[in-house]
């Protein structure tokens, strides 16, 4: 679309945009949208694809087999995301503020806090399975050391606690990203502003909320929307730790695992690419709604606020 408008366009804008738009369109958008289109088709018994309108969507939300799965996955995904939005981002803000204010050691702290984010899902899945494993007894002996041994349960295996446990592991893993974004934004705030505030007699606490936080708002918005997008598109950690069936009894099933299981199949279950694409389309619509809300509502308001 950029090339079409080239005549009206300053050439440099095309130069800036063309490489990204071209690579992204060919390698991401084209394959993704082509596959997304499969959600409007269904397969007949003789392996032909026929146009099916919205019938796959109707099936997904009414069929006695699919309905509990999609609703369960939605519910779990909301819980999974809320835990991140609240716990992860609050701790990240606290850590970023502390790290940004600590002179000499701040690079050290920042580096270490980010480390879990560097590790692969395989490693994280493996090590937390060990730590929380009743046989290895790591967490049990830690609890026993503070006389809380009776609190220990096989959290990852119980339907009531599995989702929360996995969510917290994911919070632990991704803490570095919001932390570092907020940190990068915090240290970008000109010193003069803070000095002026100090002259006015504001203490650290007041100056943080009155001066720094408003300036952080655009980044807070980015962090929130990235958390939302990332978590409604999450898959790997749960897949690594609990498998594509997201047990026990679908307690950890989120949209990403439901999509994978439906699209690619699982053990004896054959992949159903049409229903899989339908699940993906639902994920797309949810995330798109969030992003549009962010772009047209949050971003505009924040900009106005700044002015």
């Amino acid at each position: 679309m950029v090339t079409k408008q080239r005549k009206k366009f300053p050439f440099y804008i095309v130069v800036f945009l063309a490489p990204a738009v071209i690579i992204y369109t060919i390698i991401m958008i084209y394959p993704l949208l082509a596959s997304l289109g499969l959600s409007f088709f269904s397969r007949t018994s003789d392996n032909q694809y026929v146009f099916a309108g919205f019938s796959n969507y109707v099936t997904l939300f009414t069929d006695s087999f699919y309905m509990p799965r999609i609703l369960g996955a939605l519910k779990n995904n909301v819980i999974f995301s809320l835990i991140h939005l609240v716990i992860q981002n609050a701790i990240a803000l606290l850590l970023a503020a502390l790290v940004a204010s600590k002179g000499r050691l701040r690079n050290f702290y920042r580096t270490v806090i980010f480390m879990p984010t560097v590790l692969s899902f395989v490693i994280i899945g493996f090590v937390w399975n060990l730590i929380l494993n009743p046989l290895w007894g790591v967490s049990e002996s830690i609890l026993q050391a503070v006389n809380l041994g009776y609190l220990f349960k096989p959290w990852l295996g119980l339907p009531d606690t599995a989702l929360i446990t996995v969510s917290l592991i994911s919070v632990w893993q991704f803490m570095g990203i919001p932390m570092i974004l907020l940190y990068a934004s915090l240290i970008g705030i000109p010193e003069e502003l803070m000095e002026a505030a100090n002259v006015d007699g504001a203490n650290g606490w007041q100056s943080f909320w009155k001066i720094k936080f408003p300036l952080l708002l655009p980044t807070v918005g980015v962090v929130m929307i990235l958390t939302f997008v990332g978590n409604f598109n999450a898959f790997d950690l749960i897949y690594t730790m609990k498998g594509a069936n997201a047990g026990p009894e679908f307690a950890t099933d989120i949209l990403g695992t439901l999509f994978y299981r439906t699209f690619f199949g699982q053990q004896l279950q054959l992949g159903n690419i049409n229903m899989g694409a339908t699940v993906a389309a639902v994920m797309f619509l949810i995330i798109l709604t969030g992003v549009l809300f962010y772009v047209f509502f949050w971003q505009r308001r924040v900009q106005n606020y700044e002015m």
Binding site: N129, L135, W136, G247, L268, Q269
Partner: protein, 437 residues
């Protein structure tokens, strides 16, 4: 500014590094690809095997492929396994994308049948060596009308129980024959307290179904009799035979390790091979790892029967086969390889290199591994069957096998009763399956 230059310099280096890549790789690639694409007959060709068995990499590289290449020096075989969990998804994608290898390792029943029906797997009726396989052996890789074979059967696995002989001696118990004896042994071990009676967890859910339900169940539903009756619609999962199986599973709970809900498959393996648990319900495929890792004497016993002297049934499950990518550039070389896979030489090499994977051919192979031989002997003492969810019944949604995993684990966890599990499984099956009348 100086620091910025350092960063820029580094990026330039990276760029140069990256620029070498596309230049390097094609330079390497033709060496591997070129003879493959346009080789006249008789010239060297390379054929690639797709597999999920990354465990067997060294066995193929060191034993099986050299033996084949000794006969056919012009055919190079590359064993290129992926990861087991992703195999089905990755293979389907590669077949659709046109980059899959020449030989395809086949999962049993519907997964491979679907590939054949889509035209990705070739018809193998003209492989002469297939006459070395019984109809039962071929049943997992044949069209429903029994006419077209699309994979050469490789191996089956047999379910049973491993136990720690030292532990049995210490506690003073013996291999159980009946269900009552089995629970007496478990009680005795539990009372002794040195060992965890049963090394098993439900975190991965499949153990509960595969190593639990399908392991002990055939004695309840009388093997093939029950399995075919389910397909014909004459029996239902709500029948006593199936509910009783789940009841026994539920009773295992008291003998499993603390926190078994979060114990995964490798955890249970560790527990057993480190000598902390006495009995491990599983299948013959463990022989290889257990003999490597366990520092005590291993024993095996078959699933216990109701009353002493009852006919015993074992799950002798057709598990793995090899097919031909219909789009292969080298059909002749691939067929040569498949033909060789039907020979006694291959049967013997494979079954001995991988103790616990038993050839499905009629060749009389002698096994050097005593435990493998013991499993194999059960074929003569008991009636063989396969897992009852694999053929035909797992074609619809909800998928029966997935449901068995989930609900068998839930039965052991105690979150559903055996009766509830049975009702849910049958309701799921009824929602799409109509037995042919």
């Amino acid at each position: 500014m100086r620091k910025y230059k350092v960063f820029a310099l580094m990026l330039v280096l990276v760029l140069a590094f990256a620029a070498c890549t596309p230049a390097n790789t094609p330079a390497n690639a033709p060496a591997e690809d070129a003879p493959m694409d346009d080789a006249p007959a008789g010239e060297e060709v390379t054929i690639t095997i797709e597999s999920w068995r990354n465990d067997d990499l060294t066995i193929w590289q060191d034993t099986i492929i050299p033996a084949f290449e000794a006969h056919y020096p012009n055919i190079n075989v590359v064993f290129a396994p992926g990861t087991p969990a992703e195999y089905n998804g990755v293979l389907n994608t590669k077949l659709e994308g046109g980059s899959a290898g020449d030989l395809i390792t086949c999962r049993p029943f519907d997964a491979s049948l679907a590939l054949y029906e889509k035209g990705y797997l070739a018809n193998l009726n003209d492989i002469e060596g297939l006459s070395n396989f019984s109809d039962v052996a071929k049943s997992a890789w044949i069209t429903d009308d029994g006419q077209e074979v699309f994979c050469v059967p490789m191996a089956s696995v047999i379910h049973g129980f491993f136990y720690n002989k030292d532990a049995f001696n210490e506690v003073g118990v013996e291999e159980p024959q009946t269900v009552q004896e089995f629970f007496d042994v478990l009680e005795a071990i539990k009372a002794d307290g040195t060992y965890i009676p049963l090394a098993m967890g439900t975190a991965d859910t499949w153990e509960a179904a595969t190593m639990g339900f399908q392991n002990i169940g055939p004695n309840y539903w009388k093997g093939e009799e029950g399995r075919t009756a389910l397909i014909a619609g004459d029996q239902k999962y709500t029948d006593d035979a199936y509910v009783e199986t789940w009841k026994q599973l539920a009773a295992w709970r008291d003998f499993m390790p603390d926190g078994f809900e979060a114990v995964k498959y490798p955890d249970a393996q560790q527990l057993f091979t480190l000598g902390k648990a006495a009995i491990y319900p599983t299948g013959s495929w463990e022989i290889f790892t257990f003999e490597k890792d366990a520092s005590f004497e291993l024993g095996v016993f078959k699933p216990p029967v109701e009353n002493a002297g009852d006919t015993c049934y074992i799950s002798d499950h057709t598990d793995i086969a090899m097919g031909m990518n219909a789009a292969t550039q080298h059909p002749e070389a691939v067929k040569t390889f498949l033909e060789w896979m039907t020979t006694e030489e291959f049967a013997s090499l494979y079954s001995n290199a991988l103790p616990g994977f038993f050839t499905l051919s009629d060749h009389n192979v002698s096994l050097t591994d005593p435990l493998a031989q013991e499993f194999m002997n059960w074929r003569n003492e008991c009636e063989s069957t396969i897992r009852n969810s694999y053929a035909i019944l797992s074609r619809g949604e909800p998928n029966l096998e997935n449901e068995l995993w989930r609900l068998s684990a839930a039965v052991i966890n105690g979150s559903v009763t055996p009766e509830e599990a049975a009702a849910e499984i049958q309701a799921g099956l009824d929602s799409w399956y109509e037995p042919a009348k």
